[in-house]
């Protein structure tokens, strides 16, 4: 028992150091934005895929925003991927097609496997451009973002690109405010630091792009995963394609406004991420692939972020057990202190990231909400643990693949 605990302590120390390194890098080191200055070029044709499943509340907003984008109109095709919607999504899209001919080519999917990856895979029959950009339907892209997300593809080493997600419904309630802080830490600090350090910025599957030839080389969209973005990141990496992060390519999104929706969302992410962890950790670390040593290490750590939830919980339980049974040196006090020290310093490393992000964004007052993140953290740790346990039991019982769509809260477009 004590040796398991030691391993857990080592693991959480590694993640703690990782958080601190990222934060300090973001605050004090040179920031890499190599492609953001490309404002004039012979822009390539792009296809913008808009993933939509029952999106009547939001689909018009994103189509309006994309039509206003500053990108040569004759080189940009918008493809709403209407995946088996049963609401007015199809009607709204068709209305746009009629009103603005030539700009939008809809893909109405009425059957097939559920899930975003499966829908995108089917929609590829409409794609004939080298650059593919992807947005979820609840996003509101700005005028310059199409150029910004396309620019990195002038680099022949880039297979994927990821922009920054910014919550738009921040002020709705405590949850949205906490998610706003989490997103800021995740993108402004975590993703940008990985970009700076030439590690593995993660493809997020929205506000994102992928090179068609790279996608073809790695075998296309993987429809058997809950997080096609994580899966894509690692397959690109193994084949020598870089995913780059563009911190200044910001795009508004709607974050969940209820805890139940948030819990379902994070459980889906955790399951998909764990799926990728099982599939890619060993090939990445020890396989004959094109990733650099630092990418292998960071990639493996990134794959483990969601499994660290149950591991940390297990660590707490073990530390208490060791303490009360007195089976380790100093009656287990050392073990308990290790875990407690992590709770005091290690967990705070993520909070440190978030505080740094809020500072970099110039949002001084919202940092006051930082203590509330303890609640968000508690919900997350139990949710991802539940996800991991149900995933293992699902494997044993061979349960069906299940896709949870994130509910929208915006008022429908008039």
């Amino acid at each position: 028992m004590i040796y398991v605990l030691y391993i857990i302590v080592v693991l959480i120390c590694v993640y703690t150091i990782r958080h601190y390194v990222f934060t300090l890098n973001r605050l004090f080191a040179y920031q890499r934005h190599p492609y953001i200055d490309i404002d004039i070029a012979d822009w390539p044709p792009v296809t913008v895929l808009v993933a939509a499943h029952n999106e009547e509340k939001v689909i018009a907003h994103i189509l309006d925003a994309l039509l206003a984008a500053k990108y040569p109109a004759d080189k940009m095709l918008i493809v709403p991927v209407n995946d088996r919607s049963t609401d007015r999504t199809r009607e709204i899209i068709d209305d746009f097609v009629q009103r603005i001919p030539g700009r939008i080519r809809p893909f109405h999917r009425t059957r097939g496997k559920p899930g975003k990856a499966a829908a995108l895979k089917d929609a590829m029959e409409l794609v004939d451009t080298e650059v593919i950009l992807i947005f979820d339907a609840d996003y509101i892209p700005g005028a310059g973002i199409i150029k910004q997300l396309t620019a990195p593809f002038f680099d022949p080493e880039v297979g994927g690109v990821m922009g920054r997600v910014v919550p738009i419904n921040v002020g709705a309630n405590l949850l949205t405010r906490l998610l706003d802080l989490e997103r800021a830490g995740g993108y402004q600090v975590d993703q940008q630091a990985r970009m700076n350090l030439r590690l593995v910025p993660q493809h997020g599957g929205t506000v994102a792009g992928v090179r068609r030839s790279a996608l073809r080389e790695i075998g296309g969209w993987n429809e058997n995963t809950l997080t096609e973005d994580t899966d894509l990141t690692y397959r690109l990496l193994l084949h020598g394609w870089k995913t780059v992060y563009q911190n200044r390519s910001e795009c508004y999104e709607e974050v969940p406004e209820t805890w139940s929706v948030r819990i379902r969302q994070i459980m889906r992410w955790a399951k998909g991420h764990n799926q990728a962890m099982v599939t890619y950790t060993l090939p990445l670390l020890f396989g004959n692939n094109r990733a650099t040593p630092r990418e292998r290490l960071d990639g493996a750590l990134l794959l483990g972020v969601y499994i660290m939830g149950p591991i940390t919980l297990l660590g707490w339980i073990l530390a208490l057990a060791v303490f009360y049974r007195g089976i380790a040196q100093f009656n287990g006090i050392l073990a308990l202190l290790s875990i407690t020290a992590y709770a005091a310093i290690g967990n705070l490393a993520a909070f440190f990231e978030i505080a740094a992000a809020a500072r970099l964004d110039g949002n001084a007052k919202r940092i006051r909400l930082l203590p509330f993140l303890v609640f968000g953290f508690t919900v997350s740790i139990f949710s991802v643990t539940h996800a991991a346990v149900s995933q293992v039991s699902g494997l044993l019982t061979k349960a069906e693949f299940h896709w949870d769509k994130t509910e929208r809260f915006r008022k429908a477009a008039s």
């Binding site: 890499r32 190599p34 492609y35 200055d37 490309i38 404002d39 004039i40 070029a41 012979d42 822009w43 390539p44 044709p45 925003a65 500053k70 080189k75 080298e130 509101i140 700005g142 005028a143 310059g144 150029k147 910004q148 620019a151 002038f154 680099d155 022949p156 080493e157 910014v166 919550p167 738009i168 419904n169 921040v170 002020g171 405590l174 405010r177 706003d180 800021a184 068609r212 030839s213 020598g240 910001e250 795009c251 508004y252 094109r290 650099t292 964004d361 949002n363 001084a364 007052k365 919202r366 006051r368 909400l369 930082l370 203590p371 509330f372």
Partner: protein, 356 residues
């Protein structure tokens, strides 16, 4: 005190201690003093002319006065709605006779001219300048911002702190410093010794004797409509021998050298330093994660990016008149005779080499 009260007090104190760090959080949650979404630029795409366009909009209330002064040849002064003092000149040559032309004197007012505007040397203009005609600045002047509908000529040793935009040609004499954005709808000429950060024009010429030779054509389909090219990914160093043609995209994780007269029919990336010898032709983009040295008389069609330092030698063309492009690096050194079409962005420092 009985034991019940002691326990109760302990609970209350513990609760208070726990709640203490939450008080500012609760206050923020209730009052929402910082609950708006991060300000993301939605309407524009960071165009280099953004400030110039905004300044034009700002000047709209002065248009009737400019017309009036142009007709009468008189000058007028007043205060803008935001409190900025202005001076409108009917004849731009009047500026030469104004007292702020004296050495080390400041011009603290917004200057707008209904015609060509010429300002005397050794002056500092702390407010923006607008000329409906040409603008000619004497040597050793310092400007905050300059906008002219036609040509702008900045004398030797000039400094522009924020931006300058010319509807016609923007020519900058030697040893001038352009700290912000410099743009022209026609052409920019920078003389040796000039430093810059952001340049944008259909044609940008560096040095005393910019190449007047027409940009050679590749005589191939533009990148955007080319079929997907194959990609070679090479670990370690790599060299394309002189005179060779490489077909496809090339990614080299180490150093890369491209020999004289070689041609790449695709894009090129190096993880370490990249050197192009003379007369190299690149049909796609040229990207280096480290230093990038472009030899003389090269022709690069796509974007040129270096993550460290970029040196471009004489006679090289970046982009073409029909396919303008972007050149970007933290530090850029450009020799005389280089021509770029589109944008040249030096994040930290850009410099035109050669003696005046």
């Amino acid at each position: 005190m009985n034991s019940f009260l002691t326990v109760a007090a302990l609970f209350v104190l513990t609760g208070a201690l726990f709640a203490l760090p939450l008080l500012p959080a609760v206050r923020e949650l209730r009052r929402k003093s910082d609950a708006s979404p991060l300000n993301v630029i939605q309407k524009h795409a960071g165009e280099i002319r953004y400030f110039a366009d905004s300044f034009r909009t700002y000047l709209r209330p002065l248009e009737p006065l400019l017309r009036e002064c142009a007709r009468s040849g008189q000058k007028a002064s007043g205060v803008m709605p935001d409190g900025t003092e202005y001076l409108v000149l009917g004849s731009g040559n009047e500026a030469l006779a104004l007292p702020f032309g004296d050495k080390d004197r400041l011009c603290p007012v917004l200057l707008a001219s209904a015609s060509d505007l010429t300002v005397s040397p050794d002056s500092a203009f702390t407010r923006d300048i607008y000329a409906q005609g040409r603008f000619v600045g004497g040597p050793n002047n310092q400007y905050r911002a300059v906008l002219a509908d036609y040509e702008v000529h900045l004398g030797k040793g000039s400094r522009v702190m924020r931006w300058v935009h010319a509807g016609g040609e923007l020519s900058v004499e030697s040893h001038s410093k352009l700290h912000g954005r410099a743009s022209s709808d026609f052409r920019i000429r920078l003389r040796p010794g000039c430093s810059f950060l952001r340049l944008n024009a259909p044609r940008i010429e560096f040095g005393t004797s910019p190449s007047e030779a027409p940009t050679p054509n590749f005589n191939v389909a533009p990148i955007s409509s080319s079929p997907t090219l194959t990609r070679l990914l090479h670990e370690g160093d790599f060299e394309i021998p002189s005179g060779e043609t490489f077909q496809g995209d090339l990614v080299v994780r180490g150093r890369l050298r491209i020999g004289s007269g070689a041609q790449v029919r695709g894009s090129v990336k190096s993880g370490k330093a990249m050197i192009l010898d003379s007369g190299v032709r690149i049909e796609g983009s040229l990207i280096s994660a480290a230093k990038l040295l472009i030899g003389p008389d090269c022709l690069i069609q796509g974007p040129v990016i270096s993550e460290h330092e970029l040196l471009i030698q004489t006679g090289t063309h970046c982009g073409t008149p029909h396919a303008p492009t972007t050149v970007s690096a933290p530090r850029i050194k450009i020799a005389g005779g280089v021509v770029a079409f589109g944008s040249v962005w030096a994040r930290d420092h850009g410099e035109v080499l050669g003696s005046a």
